[in-house]
């Protein structure tokens, strides 16, 4: 089971509504974001330019470094959904997971002294009844949630529409095997490997 997001960058216009939807849904305070939208570009020289936006959040790695480095087991993989989560009650705020995460998507909650991150809105999605708030709110319909191992999931169906040269991962430099897929067609922009 590989629950994650598939994000179609051919559609995304970088409006940040997913960022706000996440904050409202998860009650995040000022200065705390579980997802962000990174503008890639414009690259080139005016007026010959390309640009796309990458919404970034926990990539739901198959080999999640955050889980393996956690000294208390607070970072864990949910046995039911296989989603990587944080048990706040056992988190001691040691930051090991944040150092281990190659994507910088964990944020430290100063007030509660614990690490936080995207849960794929597990409170809505775990029983299969709902979708993550960012997926629902997305103003261009660019976000798809589901199990990549289930060909009937929204995520798998969206991927199936595209050739492999349109499907990308964030660089797997740490061997964590991120599950999250990004769709970007070459006619919109050439995929840039982010460092």
């Amino acid at each position: 089971m590989r629950n994650c997001l598939v994000i179609n960058l051919d559609r995304c216009t970088g409006c940040d509504s997913c960022v706000a939807a996440c904050k409202f849904e998860n009650g995040l305070g000022l200065g705390i974001n579980w997802n962000r939208v990174i503008p890639v570009g414009p690259t080139g020289t005016h007026p010959d330019l390309e640009m796309y936006w990458i919404p970034g959040q926990c990539q739901q790695c198959a080999n999640a470094a955050c889980v393996s480095v956690c000294p208390t087991g607070a970072s864990y993989r949910d046995p039911l959904t296989n989603v990587v989560l944080i048990e706040k009650a056992t988190c001691i705020g040691c930051h090991y997971c944040a150092y281990a995460c190659p994507y910088g998507v964990r944020v430290f909650n100063e007030e509660e002294h614990v690490m936080e991150k995207c849960t794929l809105c597990s409170h809505l999605t775990a029983d299969g009844s709902g979708l993550p708030a960012c997926v629902v709110a997305c103003t261009t319909g660019c976000r798809f949630y589901g199990d990549l191992d289930d060909p009937d999931s929204d995520a798998s169906k969206e991927l199936a529409k595209y050739d492999t040269d349109c499907i990308h991962l964030l660089p797997d430099t740490a061997g964590t095997h991120p599950a999250t897929r990004y769709i970007l067609s070459p006619n919109i922009a050439k995929w840039k490997e982010l460092s």
Partner: protein
């Protein structure tokens, strides 16, 4: 998803509320939460049991309205998402919409009427609704008693409370000629009114819910769309923005974006034309020239359905009528009843090689084969066809010359024009950008004209469409419809274009209330700035710089009692300082808004509290679906935005010793919330509001059957006179050579008929090149050109107190090319100072190749934190980062004819500035935690009943 489980607390009546409020006394202060004084009521509600419900309503975060679902838990809205029943936004909601959960509960949301203790401070005194209405009505009366009704004026616009119709209606009820909004000539009016002038139909504006055809999923047809100065991905993010994403990705629709700014729509476009700001007319003429030269136009449509083959009298600049050349000519289309007018014109007939009458007919019935581009001798004068006149004007604009002038690559222009003209079907969707330039009339005239010569009119997939209308007779343009704006027809004023002179004369003579007609005509005559800019009659507005001068000098009379219906005028009006400077000429300033803005801080004497959209009732359409705004919650004593006006007007009339409704106004709004609800039920076609709101699943949305809604080729349908319907213009054809503009400039026709206004210089009947007032190289002190636009976090002047938007976009960013920035030693995210002769403002530099070298781009901004209680030296927050401090309205300019001729638009995009490194200004916040005082505080406010 219903409100059956209506869990409203026992509502406080207005009277008891006011009583409690009065008891709270001065403690209210600003922010004006009454939660303390109403603790008991709130507690009673809290104890009444918890409940969760979902209500169908609509978002009003911008000028398009998405259908949304609001989740309400124990009386507090905890979640907003798009309504899956919506055909366009679906489940989407953008950050502007989500912000409502903060703004409705914001400490800045005012809940009671307040009297300003002193202008230029944030000191307010809470007063009762009765006191506030009495004060407002008395002050209006004082002005009228002392100086006559022209002492009064109104304004609306600016975002957040949409009250234009009530504003104009109120103005007329007082018998004052002057209302305005910062948009108007600078937003909406030019592009919205030009389409009816050119083809008698709906404007191709993608920002205003006028243009739905590209989003037609019933029979999708749009293959190619040009976004000319429009950015739906940012300005209408979840509605037209979502629609564009569907079009591009799901339907493979090609797009061209004409925009100096590298918007997300530019980034996704097949061709992006980043033209120099304000040079659109040259590009329009280049497209005309290329299309004519390469014969890419639709020859049959142009020949028979546009007025370009008409031979034009060089003296009058109007088309010859057949009777002028052949006095005995009998027009076969003449109406024997002398009601409908269908003139016959003069053309050069290819078949006979002579000039011939061109009677109105179906193309296949035409006795002639008219030349579109020709010069012939008519009545002894060398006369060109309208088409020839256009071509002569356009042909100098070659790809190369246009490229140089507009800062474009000639091959890109060619690629774009071919993509547009060689498409099976296409259309130009026109946005606000050119409304904010001196060429505000010429650009829509030119682009609408292009669509007509391409035959992209009234057929599937185009942007000039009619929707739902069904012609029975020859179509007519009248002043009581969107086609001719305003409400002149209600007063018997205005020429019905498409009917005969005799019929119009008789109608005026037989109008039952001649005094009403004459009064309205006199108001038109005395409206400020209208002799020069008669296009304003379309929206019943006055010219903003002219009213400013009248306030300042008292000439020819002094508007002095101001009722502003919405928004932050100091952030939205060009040359803000010039407005600040006349505030002390204003005897009394009545305002209404959901929050205190810079304008209220500096100018208001009294403010009425308006509802945020979660408190509203109303209806609106998304394509062929009618949805409803539902009052999900209600706090304090806020009211629907039409209510204060109706209440003040009623009291004013009592004070004046008048009874009943005024005949001088058609102000539409009922004066109570129940009245609003009744209107909603009626609009939704449901017997009662209760029935509707308790069964939203059944009634919302109300759908017009698609085959009734999507209608095409109506100009070909044979109507009552046995002829094809045609278009609602004088010639019954598309008029890319826009005769109505010529007649308008000379007499005010058709708006002021029977009154003839004094003439001004002729308006251009075709697109001609209108250079910007200021150009790079004109003044070495101001070497950079600046333009502006929106960001997705805000709409107009709204939401600068929405903390999640502010932490993402805390201060305006001025986009600048890295090469240009390097010349000034400016680095990414440096604070910079941008100056024009009007003043200086601050912004943070955003270095990007998206901006052309030598060009800047910046969003509008203002800072409500500047008068937060925590500030040691508070100020109005409109000077720090407000681009309108550096824009010009030319009230002190020696520029000759600085405004657009037709609409009087001043320039907000494409003017010259200089830039240097600067510093973060005083009293503004940028760090996320700084916005803590904007986080919601009113969630424990009790639910209240209706004020009225």
């Amino acid at each position: 998803m219903t409100m059956t489980e209506k869990h409203c607390p026992k509502a406080l009546s207005r009277r008891s509320f006011v009583k409690i409020a009065a008891a709270a006394g001065a403690a209210a202060g600003l922010g004006v939460s009454m939660s303390g004084s109403l603790k008991d009521a709130g507690k009673a509600f809290a104890e009444s049991g918890s409940s969760i419900k979902t209500v169908k309503t609509m978002c009003h975060g911008c000028i398009q309205f998405c259908a949304v679902l609001a989740t309400v838990e124990d009386g507090v809205v905890t979640k907003l998402q798009g309504d899956p029943d919506s055909p366009l936004n679906k489940t989407s909601i953008c950050i502007k919409g989500l912000n409502q959960m903060h703004t409705v509960y914001s400490p800045r949301h005012i809940l009671h009427p307040m009297r300003h203790v002193e202008r230029g401070t944030n000191k307010w005194e809470t007063i009762s609704w009765d006191e506030a209405i009495e004060l407002a009505a008395t002050k209006i009366k004082e002005g009228v008693d002392k100086y006559g009704p022209y002492s009064f004026f109104v304004s609306s616009g600016g975002g957040g409370a949409y009250s234009g119709f009530w504003a104009y209606g109120f103005c007329e009820a007082i018998l004052s000629p002057n209302s305005f909004e910062p948009g108007g000539a600078q937003c909406f009016m030019p592009r919205a009114s030009m389409a009816p002038f050119v083809y008698g139909g709906r404007p191709p504006s993608i920002a205003d819910s006028f243009l739905w055809e590209p989003f037609n999923t019933y029979k999708p047809a749009t293959k190619m769309i040009v976004l000319w100065g429009a950015q739906p991905s940012i300005s209408q993010t979840a509605l037209s923005g979502h629609g564009m994403a569907d079009l591009r990705v799901d339907r493979g629709c090609k797009t061209i974006v004409v925009d100096p700014n590298f918007t997300p729509d530019s980034a996704k476009a097949d061709v992006w034309l980043p033209l120099r700001p304000g040079t659109d007319t040259a590009l329009v003429l280049c497209w005309w020239s290329y299309i004519i030269e390469h014969k890419l136009y639709d020859e049959d449509f142009t020949k028979y359905w546009t007025n370009l083959p008409f031979l034009i009298n060089p003296d009058t600049r109007l088309p010859y009528l057949a009777e002028e050349v052949w006095p005995d000519y009998v027009n076969p289309a003449k109406d024997p009843n002398d009601e409908f007018s269908t003139p016959a014109y003069v053309c050069f007939d290819k078949k006979t090689g002579t000039i011939q009458p061109l009677p109105y007919s179906l193309p296949e019935d035409s006795p002639v084969d008219p030349e579109i581009f020709f010069t012939a001798v008519v009545n002894g004068a060398e006369s060109r066809t309208a088409g020839q006149i256009y071509y002569d004007e356009a042909k100098e604009w070659t790809l190369e010359k246009t490229g140089e002038y507009c800062w474009l690559q000639p091959d890109k222009i060619e690629e774009a024009v071919k993509l547009y003209a060689e498409a099976e079907v296409a259309g130009i969707a026109h946005g606000v950008a050119t409304d904010q330039t001196k060429a505000s009339s010429e650009v829509p005239l030119g682009v609408n004209g292009l669509d007509t010569i391409m035959g992209y009119v009234d057929k599937p997939g185009v942007t000039l469409t009619h929707l739902s209308e069904q012609y029975k007779d020859r179509p007519v343009m009248v002043g009581d419809t969107a086609a001719l704006g305003a409400w002149s027809a209600n007063y018997g004023v205005g020429y019905h274009v498409g009917k005969t002179d005799n019929w119009n004369k008789k109608r005026v003579e037989e109008f039952p209330d001649q005094e009403l007609l004459k009064t309205y005509n006199q108001l038109q005559r005395d409206r400020l700035g209208l002799v020069e800019h008669k296009g304003f009659f379309w929206q019943d507005n006055c010219h903003i710089p002219t009213i400013l001068k009248a306030i300042r000098t008292g000439e020819p009379y002094k508007p002095r009692v101001w009722y502003d219906f919405s928004g932050n005028k100091l952030a939205m009006l060009g040359n803000a300082q010039s407005w600040y400077d006349v505030l002390d000429e204003i005897d009394f300033c009545i305002c209404q808004y959901p929050m205190i803005t810079s304008f209220h801080y500096e100018a208001a004497d009294l403010i009425f509290p308006l509802q945020e959209w979660l408190e509203w009732n109303g209806t609106s359409d998304i394509i062929n679906n009618k949805f409803m705004f539902t009052q999900v919650i209600h706090l304090g004593e806020t009211v629907n935005n039409g209510v204060p006006a109706t209440r003040i007007l009623a009291r004013y009339r009592e004070l004046m010793g008048e009874t009943g409704p005024s005949k001088y106004t058609v102000m539409p709004q009922p004066d109570s919330e129940d009245g609003v609800r009744a209107g909603v039920a009626k609009d939704m076609g449901v017997e009662s509001y209760e029935e509707l709101v308790n069964n939203q699943d059944k009634y919302v949305p109300k759908v017009t059957p698609p085959d009734e809604y999507w209608r095409y080729y109506q100009y070909l349908d044979i109507v009552s006179d046995g002829l094809p319907g045609g278009f609602a213009t004088e010639s019954r054809k598309c008029e890319p050579y826009c005769t109505i503009l010529l007649k308008m400039s000379r007499t005010g026709w058709p708006f002021t008929y029977p009154l003839e206004m004094p003439a001004c210089d002729d308006y251009n009947p075709i697109c001609v090149n209108i250079p910007p007032n200021e150009n790079p190289g004109d003044d070495p002190e101001y070497p950079l050109v600046i333009t502006s636009g929106r960001v997705p976090y805000y709409h107009h002047g709204t939401m600068r107190h929405a903390p999640f938007s502010r932490e993402l976009y805390p201060a305006p960013e001025v986009k600048i090319n890295p090469r240009t920035a390097a010349e000034y030693g400016i680095e990414h995210m440096d604070w910079v100072k941008i100056s024009s002769p009007r003043g200086s403002i601050s912004a943070r530099a955003y270095l990007t190749e998206g901006e052309a070298p030598g060009q800047l781009w910046m969003e509008r901004f203002w800072n409500p934190e500047a008068y937060d209680a925590s500030q040691a030296n508070p100020d109005g927050g409109w000077r720090q980062c407000n681009i309108n401090v550096i824009t010009d309205n030319y009230v002190d300019s020696d520029t000759e004819k600085p405004y657009n001729s037709v609409y009087g638009s001043y320039t907000l995009r494409g003017f010259q500035v200089k830039i240097e490194k600067g510093e973060r200004p005083e009293n503004i916040w940028v760090e996320p935690k700084e916005f803590e005082p904007f986080m919601p505080t009113l969630t424990s406010e009790p639910q209240t009943g209706d004020v009225f």
